[in-house]
């Protein structure tokens, strides 16, 4: 297969970037999208040019590191898949493919397709945890958990922190990511004691990082590779409202 690629090249956060054209040939349909970029980079290195910088690690759809905005869609055209799990057979021979980084004020560009998602870590540090020091735990089965709640918590906990929801959103809102963590912990009894504090602190940090507001468009849900649902955002709104207006919790 043969493709025309238009790839965003940008030296660093302080220089302007632009789309650069590349053509690539002899691509096998069983290659993953990242393996196709590997081949392109191999060609570039052999020519003495700077290869395209991009983030990746597990290549199994679980670490959340890969992050390409492909022809107008976060992680490309395949629903429920990360960039590393996208295969070239999803494209047609001769296609022109645009490859860009996640774009959001809170995710500054490092180089080419690589962005800084440290804001997500800081949101977790603000409250996305249960304060249980090592050694304090009681026997695990002393705390039965309703199976349905456990399953729902697991659905939300499946978020890989990739940031596609932010990239897909016209407001660059991080609500889906934040709501996934708040939901995971709010659905479990272990999360109860810090429930109010968590919702307030995580939302405050999200705002401080410069993410946009949620206007319920749903683009995040459509592009999320782990199919995190919008109901989580509704739950976050409830959690937040309870904490802000119906409790005396302050952060």
């Amino acid at each position: 297969m043969k493709f025309n690629l238009k790839v965003w090249r940008q030296k660093n956060a302080n220089t302007a970037g632009k789309l650069v054209d590349y053509t690539i040939d002899q691509i096998n349909e069983d290659m993953s999208f990242l393996e196709m970029v590997d081949v392109l980079n191999d060609n570039l290195v052999r020519k003495g040019e700077d290869p395209i910088a991009f983030d990746h690690d597990c290549r199994e759809g679980i670490c959340g590191m890969c992050s390409m905005y492909i022809s107008g869609r976060a992680h490309g055209p395949q629903h429920g898949a990360t960039t590393c799990q996208l295969y070239m057979r999803k494209f047609k021979d001769g296609d022109t493919i645009y490859v860009e980084p996640w774009r959001a004020r809170a995710f500054p560009i490092v180089k080419d397709l690589v962005v800084d998602r440290g804001a997500f870590d800081r949101i977790i540090a603000a409250g996305g945890f249960v304060s249980a020091n090592t050694g304090q735990a009681q026997d695990a089965n002393n705390l039965p958990v309703n199976k349905d709640d456990a399953e729902k918590a697991m659905d939300a906990a499946a978020c890989i922190g990739c940031g596609a929801c932010v990239a897909a959103c016209k407001n660059a809102s991080a609500m889906l990511f934040v709501s996934a963590k708040v939901s995971h912990l709010a659905l479990l009894p272990q999360g109860e004691p810090e429930r109010n504090r968590r919702a307030l602190a995580m939302v405050a940090q999200m705002d401080a990082e410069g993410f946009g507001n949620c206007t319920n468009t749903g683009a995040c849900e459509a592009e999320c590779p782990k199919e995190i649902k919008l109901v989580n955002i509704a739950r976050l709104n409830r959690e937040y409202a309870n904490a802000a207006f119906a409790s005396e919790t302050q952060i």
């Binding site: 670490c63 799990q85 870590d121 090592t134 697991m154 499946a158 922190g161 272990q190």
Partner: protein, 645 residues
Amino acid sequence: MATLDSKIPEGPLDEKWSSYKEHAKLVNPANKRRLEVIVVGTGLAGASAAASLAELGYKVKTFCFQDSPRRAHSIAAQGGINSAKNYKNDGDSVHRLFYDTIKGGDFRAREANVYRLAEVSVNIIDQCVAQGVPFAREYGGMLDNRSFGGAQVSRTFYARGQTGQQLLLGAYQALERQIGLGNVTQYSRHEMVDVVTIDGKARGIIAKDLKTGKLERHFGHAVLLCTGGYGNVFFLSTNAMGSNVTAAWKAYKKGACFANPCYTQIHPTCIPVTGDYQSKLTLMSESLRNDGRVWVPKSAEDAKAIREGKKGPLDIKEEDRDYYLERKYPSFGNLCPRDIASRAAKEACDDGRGVGKTGLAVYLDFADAINRLGVDVVKARYGELFPMYQNITNQDPLKTPMMIYPAVHYTMGGLWVDYELMTSVQGLYALGEANFSDHGANRLGASALMQGLADGYFVIPYTIGNYLSGDIFTKPIDLNHPAFVEAENAAQERMQKLMSIKGKRTVDDFHKALGKIMWEYCGMARSAEGLTKARKMIQDLRKEFWSDVAVPGEINDFNPELDKAMRVADFLEQGELMVVDALNRNESCGGHYRVEFQDQGEAKRDDEQYAYVAAWEFTGVDAEPILNKEELKYENIKLQVRSYK
């Protein structure tokens, strides 16, 4: 020669750990605040250690090369984590888990360490549940378990097919909490490129800020390496792309012994290699062997016809199929241990009966299970796995058998550590897959997660105090100390050298070439002849690398190719040590199979001569390493032949 004191406490096996804890020296809270600990790696081992130490009051710095600590390779673990909870009332106990793990490791692990691992396995589950890890549950609200290879009880806890992810997120959240509280400083996109030792003690590291390419000096009263395994020396493996040996290798070059480097685990059920462009191999969970039947055609002609596309698997009649695991190991059948299933697949393919375009694949067939249980049950049982397979290969395993082949998965070898997890360098510790301690020559499924968390949550918090209590008067060492300057200069020179070669071959070219040598000669079947040849080939390849590698870009910049080159340079040295170790071990045990030492295809151990840990000591890149031996003493169990027939 290094002196290897394993520091195993006196007393009966089941009292060693509690007696150690009672006698270990303590550090008072005020002093802890003055003690700085560097933790390299934020996988299960690193994140759990860093969070726990910070909770105790130590000042901690953590490092990882990914853009967030949450992305460590532990995130990819699927199956589950073992624990001797005996929630199923099926006769499990600490002793049974201990015994299964020792036996699974083909009697090449240390008794005292494995016993402690089994003991603390119980606390791990409690801790993780308290953090909110959403383990699978039964309708009554209690925790669910599944069975894994090498055990007759149900002791594996799991969170769908994402156990590693959920355990890591639990540890990551505990770590982020400590970061938020200001007790931990996290350095993401930072790669450790050297350990700094002063007067024989580890005192810090040199780290490369991958965003800017600049080198930094960091001081610590102690340094913990939690940097994972080195399976990527084979280029193709189930490990994440960035997994590397650099941190452990630098420690080795600074005096830490490297133990049993040849013990590698090759997992039998992975998606086969299809082309040269392939960058990694994907694991298909061991659980599939509960219902899948492994076979190849009986005749080489049929196999050839399949490879050429003239026949498909469904054209091969039942009587013309060889269900070779069931034939060879009637009592365990398709569920025999990983090392054995892998070797059998290789034999079938070497015999000309492999399938797939390359001939390096065997079938894993669900047709019987579907007939017996119906499509829906089979689909539900293996959830995500079938769609994942279909997405990668474009074939539907419900209609045609899966194709699988063994792939490198885990490394049992690693830095030698004593009972306290300290390497042979004072103040330098190794935790998780980076050390060698608990799995002997073969690791059982669901025990790596257990070991990583045991080391981080429940072992190091006690053992580090025993060392640091003697260090409370040491002030932070000036970063201009000659040892820091020298280490930084050496790293800088190495980078400059790599950039200045401007050769013709890419880093991946070399990495792939190394991987081929390792796989061919130091993979599933090894021989003295092949290993001797391989050693020479690796030495030659290393020379070529240092004269012909092409590293583009700039040195003081975000430059992933340079980072890769630095890792591959270390693999090119470490691969040789693996070969040396494999050559030294004139026996077959677990994942190490020497064709000269077998009994009709079954591994033949030599307990008389090789019941020891081979701990190698560095003497120079092109010099012979020194072999130190730690005898393995079995006081509580009897060595036996592992039979699965």
